[in-house]
Structures are given as C-alpha cells and as structure tokens.
Assembly symmetry: C2
Homo-oligomer: 396 residues x 2
Amino acid sequence: MSAVYRKSLFNIPLGMIYLDGNSLGPPLKEIESISENVIVKEWGGKLIKGWNESNWMEQPLSVGNKIANIIGGDKGSIVAGDTLSIKTYQALAAAIHLKPKRNIILTDIDNFPSDIYIAEGLVDSFNSNFELKKVKKNDIISSLNEQVNTVLLTHVNYRTGAMFDMENITNKVHENGSTIIWDLAHSAGAVPLDLKAINCEFAVGCTYKFLNGGPGSPAFIYVRPDLIKKCYPILRGWLGHKAPFDFNNTFEKSTSIEMMRVGTPSVIQSSILEKSLDVFRDLDFHELREESIKLSDLFINMVERTCSDLHLESPLNSSERGSQVSFSHPFSYAIMQALIDRNIVGDFRAPNIIRFGITPLYVSEEDIIQTVKVLEEILSNRLWDNPTYLNRKKVT
Amino acid sequence: MSAVYRKSLFNIPLGMIYLDGNSLGPPLKEIESISENVIVKEWGGKLIKGWNESNWMEQPLSVGNKIANIIGGDKGSIVAGDTLSIKTYQALAAAIHLKPKRNIILTDIDNFPSDIYIAEGLVDSFNSNFELKKVKKNDIISSLNEQVNTVLLTHVNYRTGAMFDMENITNKVHENGSTIIWDLAHSAGAVPLDLKAINCEFAVGCTYKFLNGGPGSPAFIYVRPDLIKKCYPILRGWLGHKAPFDFNNTFEKSTSIEMMRVGTPSVIQSSILEKSLDVFRDLDFHELREESIKLSDLFINMVERTCSDLHLESPLNSSERGSQVSFSHPFSYAIMQALIDRNIVGDFRAPNIIRFGITPLYVSEEDIIQTVKVLEEILSNRLWDNPTYLNRKKVT
C-alpha cells in the first residue's frame, strides 16, 4: 500500500470501490462523535453560550487556516462559509472593483456552469459596464488584452479533469495587468497547491469533494493578504462588519479576511469540516500526487488495452490532468449504472461522460485493476444494454 | 401547564431557565438520532447516492413546504438555503426589478443591521440608480411616495421586540404601488403568521431562533406565487437553473421557487432543521400567542412592581410586541451576566438592553416568576456590581 493510503480512517460501505470523491468525499469515522459533540454537548449543553465557549464564531477563520495549510495560503487569508457560488460572486465583485477602467471578465466556456452563471448575474447587475467573455480554454491567453479586468478559471475541469497550468496562466494574466481568480473545487485536497508561490489575487473552492467535509459543507475564499484592505464587499452581511456586535446601522467593512463573511455560519457543518481536514495534517501532497498519477495512468492504460469502446476525455499527459479520469461512450450513463450496481461508484456528466475520481487516500492499485476488470466485463458482454440501466432515473 | 408547553421534547440543561430562544433555539432530543442517520447511514452509507436516494436535492423544497405551513404560505412558495443576509439580498434584487422606474428602498433605521448593510451593498452595486432611505419606524408610512420601490422591514425588532402591524403596513405599501419584503427572523415560529392573507410579495427569515433549527441552520425565502416567474435572479447559482444537471453554459432561470436556490445545500443542517420543524406540526399558533402574551405581561408587571430600576424597552401593549421582552439599565450587561450565572439565560444587546425570549414551548409561568425573583435579588443587593460580571468579555 502507498504511504498516503488510509482507507481505514473512512466510513465507506464494505466492499465498495469509491471513485466519486471528486463529487462527494466520504466521512471520516471520527465524524460521528464530532457531530454528537457539537449537537449534544455544545448546542444542547451550552445553547447560546456555544457561540463563545465553543468558538463557533471564530470557526470560519480556524477552518480557513486549516485550509490555508492545505493550499499554501498565509494564516488569516482564508475564511470558510456559504457556498462556492456565493464565494465566487464575492471574489468577482471584489476583483473587478480593483481595476474599474477595464470592463471584461474572461472565463473558460467549459468552466463549471455556476461560475459562468454567477459572473453573468454580476455583470448584468452592473448595467452593462462589464461584459463576460467565454472562450475555449486554449484561447484564454490569446484573449488577454487591455480591457480584460479579471480572469475566472477553474483549475481542474469538472468534466474532463483537464488541469490548467496555474503558474503559467497566472503569470500571463499578471503580465497583462489583469487579476485572476482560481476556483479550486476540483483541486483542493487533490493536487499540491501553493497559492503564495503562485501569487494569485483570489481563490475560491468547495470542501465536500476531495476535502471530505460532507454534503453541503461550507465553501471558502482566499484573498491575497495585500489586497484584503482594498477589497470591495458586495454582500455586506453583518459578520463582515468590523464590529458586528456593535449593531451600528452603517456598514464599515472588517479590515481582515472576515470582510468576506456574510451571515451566521453553519456551525454543525463547519465543525464536521474542521475535523475532516485533519486527515491532511501529516500528508505529503507530493506523495499523494505521485500516487494519484500512478493510479490514473494505470487506469488509462488498462482501459485502453481492454475497453477500447471507451474514449479517453481526460488529457493523456498526467501533468495536464487533475486527480480524475473521464471517458465517453454513447451509452455511458447505462455503463455507469451497471458499474454502480456492481459496487464500483463513479458518476455521469451530461452528455456522455463517466467520471472517476482518483483519491489515493482510499483508492488502491487493486481497486483500479478490479474496476477495469468489471468495466471490461460490462462492455464486452454489453451488460449495460439493459432497461434497468438505460432507463434509470437521472438526477445528480 | 399550558397546552403548548412541551419542554420534555427539548434538550435543555437541567435546571436552566432558557429565555434566549429568540437568539438560538434549543435542540429537540430527537436531533441526535437524526444527525446520526444523516451522517452515518446517508452520507457514510450511501455516499454520492444520498443525493437521490435520501432526497438531499429536494430537501430545500420539502423544508420550505414545512415552513410554509408555519407561516401561511402556499406549497412551493418557499425554499430553504444559505443565510438570511443572502436571502434578503436575493429578495431585494428581485423586488426592485419589478418596478424599475422607482428608485427608493425604504427601511427602518432600527432594522437589524444586516438587512440595512445588505441593502446598502445592493444599492451601491447599481451605481446610484437606487437609494436606500432609513427612517424611524413611525415614519415609514408617511415616507411612502411615488419613488418608493420597495419597503424592507423586520416584523419584530430584534432589540425591543416591537412588532409592526403587518397587515396595515402591507396595505399602505400596496396602496402606494410599492412592494414589501418582510423579514420574519423574530416572528417565524413565535407569532401567528398568514402570508397568503397578508398578500406580501416577499418574505425572508432564519430558522435557528424560534424554529430551533440549530446554529447556522439554513434561512428561507418566500415569493408570492404569482411573482415567481417574473423574478429577477441576481445570484445565479447552478441550482437556480431550470435544468442544473444539463450543465449548460447559459443561465436559464427555473420557473419555480427553485430559482432562488444558489449552490449545494447544507444537507446535514437541513436534515436537522427539517426534523426540528415537526414540533410545530400539531401546534395551535393562537394558543401559543395567547400563552406568550400571558407570560410576557406577567413578566412586565412583576418587573414593574419589584425591579423598578429596569426600564421597559418593549411596547407595553401586547398587540405591538412580538414574543420577547426587553429592558434597559445602565449596567444591563453585568445584570445579565449575574443572571446567567444563576442559570437563567437571556442575552444582552448594545448599548444597554437585556432581552428575554418568551418561548411557551419550554418556558412556564413558574420560570417567569423565578426569573423575576432572581432579577430582584440581583438588583436590590447590587449583586451585578462585581468585577466578574462587569468585566466579563463581551462577544455575542
């Protein structure tokens, strides 16, 4: 087993090969007692006093600091809360206000839709001073010009697992005098990240994928420390005020990353998230990455040899790939259903992609070999060609 | 005991008189098993399949429907999610777009600060087309004119417990051709509400106060059914799309209340909230209100007789008061600390107010009598005049 493998710490159904940690990470076994603690001892036992005595009010910062350790941010540069869409809205509003004379927001046309929609909503609310330009990922750099205010990109594509060269793009964006926001939804907890070294202005991410925070756990936002004081707050919730408990009727923004807080934090989910992050405490992300590449390459090579009907949608070159492998097939939905019924869980993304999250914390070489074996069986015997799989209700 | 009293259902520390349910409601005893179910059986046991099999994705609507039963909304008119500040932002943006030629948002200068800040942020982002006007509560009606687009009010004031006449104000706002948004933070679960009869356009609220949803439980938004299709979505998260799982790169808003969804719902907190709402299923809100008035009047009368140093900050007339009683005193902070140390828990709000939430679900006449007795002891013997209380760190 690899040095990063620690499946015994997780609560994953016996016999299941779980290749969907890029969508929803599994709980650590310890989470059960954490939730009991926060619900019974803190909420029930302390009631309103929990806000002070159990540090509920500071938790968005303490969780932020733990995330900072994972993605290479300074202490006090990240706060947790809300959802990724909300955090993206805040980052984008703050970013475009830094350079008001430039009016273009540039993004990848294949970016996660919510990032695009959120940007459209923001642009629309500014009565056309700003414009959202969606281009193909290979056209990002060539689309940079003096009107480009901010570039909003997701580091690893949710559908294909294709990974941008963060350093190169950030440098090019900066050379153009523009600002960059990185969405780390599919990279935080999955690949080595060093925001300080990259020097990006903003980053946002969610915590229920590779960070295993639980369904709907809080998102996060990173602001480069030198920019925090200059940031424009669009969502002026009371907890972004510099003295929220003075209850003044005029907003004065906090001078710390807390200006990106909005309303009352989801304490129970935050407590679960905070514990979930501990699994990364002693983890070497370069070892994790090495193992992820090893498993992904093995997966791709075996599929190529034995499942020729599947078309690789992820980059073949591991340096251009996150921790996910995707294939397409005209009947990929039914193929995934057949796999799931054999206790191997990945997921489907419209129109025809099956995705496999490669999470070496709880996925082994043996799991990959077994997965391809079952895939081969499903494909060679057309086991997917069955109304049970073809007609199963599609939801998420 | 009154017909609505059901303290045995709640997890409240033995011997504690809890008069702070207007800030954070206590957990039902059942919540412990609910959280175990959602964390161990659903998240751990089903992992990604929880989204479909455990109805996580529909939960914001099913929770919304339960809230609708409590506040008199139609089925499908409410969705849960995010925080109250976020929901207020969405409601306000949608409201002002209904009547684009009117440019004033009118609010109470003593409204909860986050409502004011959120409105300021929105107005600011529209580059001065809109203006926020803050007036004293008695000047709301006289400030209505043909430029007033939307009136944003909190039904029950967080500091004093003063309650607006919802019906009268709504009618006056409508006669003026304006739109009203009611913030129900301090009234949902506390007083009888009938949004359909009131005919307000929008309402928002939080669920961790009188609805006992837990620290940071999701907020909610109500949109009058005839307006849903016309609503302008400012926060275009993917779950507000009419077909989020098609992952299109252009936003098309949902035609239902789901257009007010933003990102991934906080499933664990939502599950806890959903169970918490069951305590209201067989509750007669008129009985609850009658008992709340009886307890509040008793409290006020006894304080008047025995604690003359305390000045009543709530309206004396019960019809103008929510389910909260507030007093002021130059040393109110220390007085509240002394009370808390005697296991009677209310809270303090700057500059000099002590608040007592009157929650007949778990507060009895005996509790009120005991509270005033202890208050009298603290005041007549100046027990508050003690460095322990005077200097205790203020946070929430």
